[in-house]
Symmetry: C2
Subunit: 179 residues, 2 copies
Amino acid sequence: MRKEVRIAGFGGQGIGLAGYILGKALALYDGREAVMTQSYGPEARGGASSANIIVSDREIAYPFVQQPDILVAMSQEAYAKYYPTVRPDGLILIDSDLVTPKDVKGHYFIPATQLAEDCGRRIVANMVMLGYFCVVTNLVRRKAMEKAIDTTVKPKTRALNLKAFATGTEFGTRELSRS
Amino acid sequence: MRKEVRIAGFGGQGIGLAGYILGKALALYDGREAVMTQSYGPEARGGASSANIIVSDREIAYPFVQQPDILVAMSQEAYAKYYPTVRPDGLILIDSDLVTPKDVKGHYFIPATQLAEDCGRRIVANMVMLGYFCVVTNLVRRKAMEKAIDTTVKPKTRALNLKAFATGTEFGTRELSRS
């Protein structure tokens, strides 16, 4: 089992933090191998940001993401850029407040920015997205994610981040039970 | 030319952000190849954090840091853990407010936390450290670092981050002119 995940959006959305937390949950609290890489393409110039996570049951020798199994897109630009790189059977999670998709096949939608605002701050849309990710992909245990959030974010923002994460899982559970 | 840099400390110090900014400065504004990796060892459990940057003139095939040429240590725990991994001729930069070194050979000291507090917020000790790094190592151009900071941090914290960075460069310039 080797899965490639790419989380992409623009600067200030906490893309790197989301990637770090996902990798930490997998590696420290879910018993997998995980590496997060940050490569700098010219696209980073415009304020774009991406975090690339490899998760595997074995040691990871080649940590670069080439064809993501899962793409999380939090901006239209990121979506347009990385949509063509996703595996044919891959999953694409998008913030429907910010991204208009080209297709619906394999796509999962969540109004993450709006839900984050409902939690109190737009800045935690990344955590809403991680909650949704958790339910849709089944790649990582919810408890592992909560622990990774808990041990990573600043203590004074912990409650807000966990609330946003829970909001994303609840939205995902509701949506999946409908379909 | 291939150099390995490890920045390490504890969670909440903005270690990942510092690593991201250094890689971005090198790759986007200094014409080098750079990759930042985040590996998750058991040490991340205790709230430790590290960012690993490879910089090269050629494409980077193997992005894992093994023997850093440069270690930036912002906690005693990180220093104790990674000090033995540094190359014999390597450089070690430490926050002297937080780390008591075992040795002085190859070591460079800066009271980064204190200087950050003087700038207004302890949280920008990472930027003070990057400013000092810039002067001591000569690995990256100052202008490239400033641009990377400018295009990465949130607009409302930009002035504070750039001030902290400048404080680190000024301290470095003063110290090196003395020696």
